[in-house]
């Protein structure tokens, strides 16, 4: 393994910050959105240009400045970060297209502000993916929290204000109240915050302190929506749908989970976690969230809220996978970052498209909609298959590895949790799809004049659904990245 010095990671992070002045100064919407696309494309190309290097087993490193002795603002591109960055950067382009259709279609106000903060949020996401140490990760994590506030509260009404308050209270409260002290304690104990393949805490603290730190980190990254710090996610669904789609299926929540995965593997290290027997605790925390969130999702009528709770549950799959501490479990968990992102963003896109075409938000009002919007609901069907974990979708692969992981770790309880939650997600997704396509006679709610949403809102979900299917037959690129990441952390 070689370490290559290159400024590329920094540029990849900054490219969407640099485009902000252009977005602000552009008076013409077409030009403005052109710049957004340009930035998204440049970002994706930069990320992809680093991909071969990573696949060859190397790492790219860039140090910006040293803020605190021993802890610099530093980027490191490794397999896991690359995986996340690829997902986020490619979905940004698709979401940008969807945003244009959605925001113009609904004639939303303050569109410039919307695109500006969207770009900032993407910068922060890539920044988290490429962080080489805890401080850099924390920096971009906070930047993401702040950049998404104007997006969540886009409508600027009473409901948005309440949601915004809840969002900031949960996210900033936990990151300042829990992550910051935990990070400082780590620094105090070891004098470094640099992620290492087997963590840097080993030998620096006893089991009690390590346990406290672990709890602080898992709950502190509230973006991962581990219960009981999940309340912000359903509330944040007041945001426009493209925001919910990218941020609350991909960027924000995945950043939370990604941070936790980084902490577990890069700060504690799987060996230390195994030695202290923390795997079971992590899995137990994740399992509670998985089951409870799935049960709550069953009872939701608002489609976006249901998706939100489904997300809460699915995110904990990733934590559970890593918590199993077995190579297959970790593989499953990391793969699920990508698979879930493509599946869930499809579902959110569909929810938005339905809202655009019909103005409906509730599941009970969507009976028979499949006949009128076949493409949208077809994509929805594929997306839900992926989330449930059925072939032929990418979700099956990650779930397969998760199940193998539980067997490998000999944790039958968590096997039951996984299977049970798959059944539950089938139980809340399938009726929606079934009733959309096969309404009971005479109950169909839509007349002939209702049709598909504009092309810019329909194409994106179809594309992401297609990718979900492709990932089942050809998971190679992501799979290689994940197996490299797993090898790197010493899980064979």
């Amino acid at each position: 393994m070689e370490t290559i010095q290159s400024i590329k990671p920094l540029i990849a992070v900054l490219v969407s910050i640099c485009v902000v002045p252009l977005l602000v100064l552009c008076k013409k919407p077409n030009l403005r959105e052109g710049w957004t696309f340009a930035a998204a494309a440049v970002k994706l190309l930069l990320v992809l240009s680093m991909l071969p290097v990573i696949l060859n087993g190397n790492q790219i490193v860039y140090t910006l400045v040293e803020g605190v002795p021993g802890v610099a603002i530093k980027f490191r591109v490794d397999a896991l970060g690359m995986l996340f960055a690829c997902v986020a950067a490619s979905l940004w382009i698709i979401t940008s297209a969807y945003s244009i259709g959605y925001m113009r279609g609904l004639k939303e106000h303050s569109q410039t502000r919307y695109y500006v903060f969207f770009a900032l949020a993407l910068s922060a996401t890539i920044g988290v993916a490429f962080s080489a140490n805890l401080l850099t990760l924390y920096l971009f994590y906070e930047m993401l929290s702040l950049a998404t506030y104007p997006l969540v509260t886009h409508h600027q009404d009473r409901e948005a204000r309440a949601a915004g308050r809840k969002y900031l209270t949960y996210i900033l409260g936990t990151s300042i109240g829990l992550v910051l002290p935990a990070m400082l304690v780590c620094y105090h104990l070891t004098g470094t915050l640099e992620f290492a393949s087997q963590g840097f805490l080993a030998g620096a603290c006893n089991r009690g302190l390590a346990g406290v730190l672990l709890v602080f980190f898992i709950f502190g990254f509230a973006k991962a929506a581990v219960m009981p710090f999940h309340g912000w996610l359903p509330a944040a669904m007041v945001a426009p749908t493209p925001v919910s789609a990218l941020l609350h299926a991909v960027a924000v929540v995945t950043v939370g989970v990604f941070s936790i995965v980084r902490i577990l593997t890069g700060v504690f290290g799987t060996e230390l976690l195994g030695q202290f027997d923390f795997g079971v605790i992590i899995c137990a925390i994740a399992s509670v969230t998985i089951i409870v969130a799935s049960l709550i999702a069953l009872s939701q009528d608002n489609l976006k809220r249901m998706l939100a709770f489904s997300t809460i549950g699915q995110l904990s799959y990733i934590i559970l996978g890593v918590g199993l501490l077995s190579p297959k479990g970790i593989t499953g968990g990391m793969l699920h970052i990508a698979m879930h992102a493509f599946g869930k963003i499809t579902l959110f896109f569909c929810a938005g498209a339905i809202f655009m075409a019909t103005g409906k938000r509730n599941i009970s009002e969507m009976v028979g909609i499949g006949r009128r919007m076949p493409w949208t609901m077809g994509a929805f069907f594929v997306g839900s298959l992926s989330i449930i974990g059925l072939p032929p979708t990418g979700g099956f692969i990650s779930k397969w590895y998760l199940v193998l992981g539980t067997l490998e770790a000999n944790q039958m309880t968590f096997l039951l949790v996984l299977l049970g939650s798959s059944l539950l997600s089938a139980a809340y997704f399938m009726p929606v799809v079934y009733r959309a396509f096969f309404p009971p006679p005479g109950k169909a709610m839509f007349e002939n004049k209702v049709g598909e949403a504009p092309i810019l809102c329909v194409a994106p979900p179809v594309i992401t659904a297609f990718i979900s299917v492709v990932l089942f037959f050809y998971p190679e690129p992501f799979f290689r990245l994940v197996s490299m990441a797993v090898r790197f952390i010493g899980g064979n």
């Binding site: 910006l64 400045v65 040293e66 803020g67 605190v68 002795p69 610099a72 603002i73 401080l135 924390y138 920096l139 906070e142 930047m143 702040l146 104007p150 509260t153 600027q156 948005a160 204000r161 915004g164 308050r165 900031l168 900033l172 409260g173 300042i176 109240g177 910051l180 002290p181 400082l184 304690v185 620094y187 105090h188």
Partner: protein, 498 residues
């Protein structure tokens, strides 16, 4: 010429102060440019001095060529150089940014205002540069007197607040003078370095202990250290805009500098921490200050008064850091002098430009300001993030050092207080941001406003404000450089405890 830098930094503003007050009789419009020249020269020389100190480590200067300890000596090391640069540069920026406020609020007193402004800087730079304890007292009173007068220039409750500040401040100055008297009785010298060499044989004398305590109380009153902070919110809150944004960032920070100077140079670290054992109680008192300041700030309905209580809280940060008794904490305290001055200036300048347009700083009058004054509000957000301590703003890094120092010293109460105040700051600032982000803007006519529609502040205010807020991030990113090149060598030289 270059050898006279330290003296010129102090003397030039003094000279210009007299010129300005004289010119004011002839032509009022000349006052501002003259002040700019005086301040600019002083600021430029400070930067040069900082550059020289960074390479040579120490610049000595003897006033009038008299040998120390008989004459007054300036003894410029990393600490003075850093603080004097902050003082002059920020005062210079503030001067430019608040010009329109001055024209509006104290129209016919421009001459008096600008000469007092310069005299205040004479006081502060003198305090920072001097190496003589009594000289420090005199300059302390110069700075204080001018600040009383400047605050008293305001309307409404300002004169009464200034008078109260004067009572309290004078008592503080007298306590400091008394402490210096004790030191003089014991050592027969007033030169800081000289006193420091003579003191070690007398560390256990109760007179020296009393001298230290008197100085501590005196300086504590002047810096508004809880529970001696009562005068601050009124004095800074009711002061004219330009005065608030001048005094609030600088005066309290310079007083913290004086305390650190007394601990490091005059009484020595051994005396303060090992012999007096004052570390623990002072850190607890600081934690109390942090929490109390934060809680009081929550109760405020006026933006500027909220900032004033935040200052009380921030003083607790610096005092606590200085008293932690380890390298990291002291680094944090010194860094925070620097950072807090910039953050406070940023916040007060924002308040200044909002006041200039809206004519009020009550929180409910800020409705919808984000769409009316986007740049000002963006700068306010930058300042807020720095106060909260969000990376990469500079406030995060000094807080980082302070908390690390607290952990090193095992002062968990202090760590908890710092985290608590960060959380309270989130609430404080997001309340402001929320009010100004949502809601329809209400025009308040009939409050003496000329009825013009609220719009973005003029460029003469925005440009300095933008520079300050970008400075927040730049300074944050270069924290490593500041610590490695300026603070670490200083603490190394002072033989600070590991």
């Amino acid at each position: 010429m270059t050898n006279h830098y330290p003296a010129l930094i102090v003397v030039l503003p003094l000279l210009f102060a007299f010129v300005v007050s004289g010119v004011a009789w002839v032509k009022k419009s000349l006052c501002f440019p003259l002040t700019i020249v005086g301040m600019g020269l002083s600021a430029g020389l400070s930067v040069c001095l900082l550059g020289r100190v960074a390479t040579t480590g120490l610049v000595e200067y003897r006033m009038g060529g008299w040998e120390t300890p008989w004459g007054i000596g300036y003894h410029v090391d990393y600490l003075n150089a850093l603080v004097v640069t902050v003082v002059t540069v920020l005062a210079f920026i503030n001067l430019i940014a608040t010009r329109k406020n001055v024209v509006e609020e104290t129209p016919e007193k421009a001459g008096a205002f600008y000469s007092l402004y310069l005299l205040f800087i004479v006081g502060l730079t003198g305090i920072v540069l001097t190496g003589d304890l009594f000289n420090l007292y005199v300059l302390l009173e110069v700075a204080s007197l001018t600040s009383y007068a400047l605050i008293g220039m305001g309307n409404g409750r300002a004169p009464m607040s200034a008078l109260n500040y004067l009572f309290v401040g004078t008592v503080g100055g007298c306590f400091y003078l008394l402490g210096v008297g004790y030191l003089y009785i014991m050592t027969g010298s007033l030169n800081m370095v000289d006193v420091a060499t003579l003191l070690p044989q007398m560390y256990h004398s109760s007179a020296v202990v009393m001298a230290f305590i008197f100085c501590l109380v005196g300086v504590g009153i002047k810096m508004a250290f809880f529970p001696l902070h009562m005068w601050l919110p009124n004095a800074y809150g009711f002061a004219p805009t330009a005065v608030g944004s001048l005094i609030a960032p600088l005066m309290t920070k310079v007083m913290v500098y004086v305390l650190i100077r007394l601990i490091l140079t005059v009484f020595s670290v051994d005396f303060a921490f090992v012999i007096l054992k004052m570390g623990d109680p002072m850190v607890w008192l600081s934690s109390l200050a942090i929490v109390a300041g934060a809680v009081f700030a929550l109760a405020q309905k006026n933006l500027k008064r909220m900032f004033c209580y935040i200052i009380v809280s921030e003083i607790g940060y610096m005092m606590g850091g200085a008293w932690l008794g380890n390298n990291t904490g002291m680094t944090g305290a010194i860094l925070h002098i620097f950072n807090d001055a910039i953050m406070t200036l940023c916040l007060f300048l924002c308040a200044g430009s909002i006041y200039y347009r809206v004519r009020g700083l009550e929180l409910d009058r800020l409705k919808g300001l984000f769409s009316k004054m986007p740049v000002t509000m963006a700068c306010l957000v930058a300042g807020a993030l720095s106060i909260i301590g969000v990376p990469p703003t500079c406030g995060f890094f000094s807080k980082w050092y302070l908390i690390s120092g607290g952990l090193e010293a095992g002062q968990y109460g202090f760590v908890a207080a710092l985290l608590f105040s960060s959380l309270v700051n989130v609430v404080l600032f997001f309340r402001v941001i929320e009010i100004s982000y949502y809601g329809d803007f209400e025009d308040h006519h009939g409050h003496g406003s000329s009825g013009e529609a609220v719009m973005e502040a003029p460029a003469s205010m925005l440009v300095p404000l933008l520079i300050v807020s970008i400075g927040l991030i730049v300074v944050g990113l270069y924290t490593g450089g500041i610590v490695n090149h300026l603070i670490n060598p200083l603490l190394l030289k002072q033989g600070f405890l590991g």
